[in-house]
Symmetry: C2
Subunit: 361 residues, 2 copies
């Protein structure tokens, strides 16, 4: 409801309305001062050049009419800033960039501006950014990846997130966000792994080897768990091996991991990267070794990073459906921002889709 | 100077300092109300749950002591929001994402938060975003790509940008920003083309074919102009042909353009994409047609999008040196934000570097 009343006020307003019935505007001030509205703006904001005399003359008028530019006045009245903070580890990762792009589209169309911050996946940076966003009085916060993905977390961290979400509407894009008691939007990884493996089985693949993650991160831990379960159900041989300690989720993890696998006779007919970056790295190592893809070995991954970029990876991938995902993150946050009551810790799982490319038969 | 005085104020401050010498803090209010500081924040911001009674009690104390939380008070006093607006066509393009990442690092470390907006390269969206940023009273604006890159522009557009930059510190990341009378940071494309072609010549390449752009965009128009000039100097055969009208700067432009070239005997020993997306598309079309890279045909591009992503393109590319570029965009804007006088329309050209990969000998 607050939002609505905000949207209705798109003219200039003044705080003290007793002296005049029609609110005074920046154009009234400009007319009386004999200057342009841009000059009035410069005088009020202190930004851009304006002569000292002119500035004082305008500020006198501003005081006389108790004029306030609308955004400021509205912020003061409503306490809302119409600003959202969005934290990602690195916007150069297409997964985060694609969710952000879709989210920002919805946020903008609802009159919100989004502050995008890179945490570099660093614990201290993330804490600082959360603190800054609180100071900035953003109306809501979205957090993707970073610490929230860690399987083991300190009580301090869980408390930090719980406190933030009690103060500011908060949506996490991470698995197992129940731990923080906050609302979350995430991909249904179980469904994704099932779609992928069922398709592979139907194409005659029988041995599935997942690489590139680490048990300490839920996005890898859960995919491993589901792959082992679904492999049993489908009677597929499943191997999960995080071959490259210290390298996770990136091209090097896939490239180096695949090189290690190729040192011995290959006991798999499909290599699954824990995400597409890993899958592309593994595929490149196989091509370099003279293997044919998909004839000798197939590759699959997660996140469909080739679509969002218009830079195909050629890897069969489980797509998070970025358009639906990004929209859902916004609508979930928007609902909390409008409710003005204790936050609902609802988890929304987005059903992924399988995108077929030439890395599989 | 304003910045400095801002940075020094990191405690809570109050506007009316005549009643007490020591500024009252949120903790004083919390103590007197017998609640936590988080509860005081909730009462003031109207966000998060708090009982109506408690809220009224706290707001009475806030009024009694004329307490203002620091960010709000500081904004009111200084007129600065410590917020920067950053407009890109699409954050899923690694060129924009890589500049943004580096920029945001510097902005954050100087206490600025950056609002990242996608214009989709759409003229109307861009205008709306500029207007919103003005309304939001950001301290500065950076604009990359989009309309600013167009060779032909309406007078209205040039006036729009000129007015914005008179009102708000403004830096463009586009060639030929002299048109707008604004400060700009851009890659030295002449130097980039020269580095690239000189290297190719030294490796024995003699025929250079550039594809994927359009004369209506400066980033393509200028590279074409430089390639023709430098080709003459180096005695290299240069052909520039934007083969795919309506498709520019993307994978499809390269892929489709290359397919068209392959319909006739190839009269070039190196294909240059107007950027890396185009080069990757062209390379893929060549591989699909059974050509060997670089033995039968070499590929080069611009922007080095493979490095930032940790997803190698394997394409020899002219790198904008994102770390230097992003830092320079911030320092240029920061200088204007601090100067508080008519903006300097300084153009800064960043010297690019050549990154060699396996798409060339």
């Amino acid at each position: 409801m607050q939002d609505k009343s905000w949207d209705e006020r798109d003219g200039e307003v003044r705080l003290d309305e007793q002296a005049r019935t029609k609110p005074i505007t920046i154009y009234d001030i400009a007319k009386e001062a004999g200057v342009s509205s841009a000059t009035v703006s410069r005088a009020i904001s202190g930004k851009g050049y304006i002569s000292e005399n002119k500035k004082l003359q305008i500020l006198d008028l501003v005081e006389k009419y108790n004029f306030r530019p609308n955004t400021f006045a509205q912020n003061l009245k409503s306490g809302f800033t119409k600003t959202i903070g969005f934290i990602v580890p690195h916007i150069g990762n297409m997964y985060f960039a694609s969710v952000y792009y879709e989210f920002e589209k919805w946020a903008s169309s609802h009159g919100y501006m989004t502050i995008l911050l890179n945490s570099k996946g660093d614990y201290e940076v993330e804490s600082k950014l959360l603190y800054s966003l609180k100071e900035k009085r953003v109306d809501g916060i979205v957090m993707m990846g970073g610490r929230m993905d860690a399987v083991e977390l300190s009580d301090d961290y869980i408390r930090e997130i719980s406190e933030i979400k009690d103060l500011i509407p908060f949506v996490s894009c991470a698995a197992k966000s129940e731990r923080f008691g906050c609302a979350s939007v995430y991909t249904d990884d179980g469904k994704g792994v099932e779609l992928l493996m069922t398709h592979l089985k139907s194409k005659g693949y029988n041995s599935f080897y997942m690489i590139g993650g680490g048990d300490e991160f839920y996005p890898a831990y859960l995919k491993k768990k589901y792959a082992l379960e679904i492999g049993k159900k489908l009677d597929m041989k499943v191997n999960v091996n995080w071959l490259t300690p210290g390298m996770h989720f990136d091209y090097r993890a896939g490239y180096n991991g695949m090189k290690m696998l190729l040192e011995k006779p290959l006991e798999a007919d499909v290599i699954c990267g824990v995400n597409d970056y890993v899958a592309v790295g593994a595929r490149d190592a196989a091509l370099e070794a003279g293997l044919r893809v998909p004839e000798d070995i197939a590759f699959v991954g997660f996140d469909d990073i080739g679509i969002g970029t218009v830079l195909p990876t050629h890897i069969t991938s489980v797509s998070p459906c970025y358009d639906i995902f990004g929209k859902k993150v916004f609508t979930s946050l928007h609902k909390i921002m409008q409710d003005n009551k204790p936050q609902d810790m609802k988890t929304t799982l987005i059903r992924p889709e399988l995108k077929l490319h030439e890395s599989t038969k």
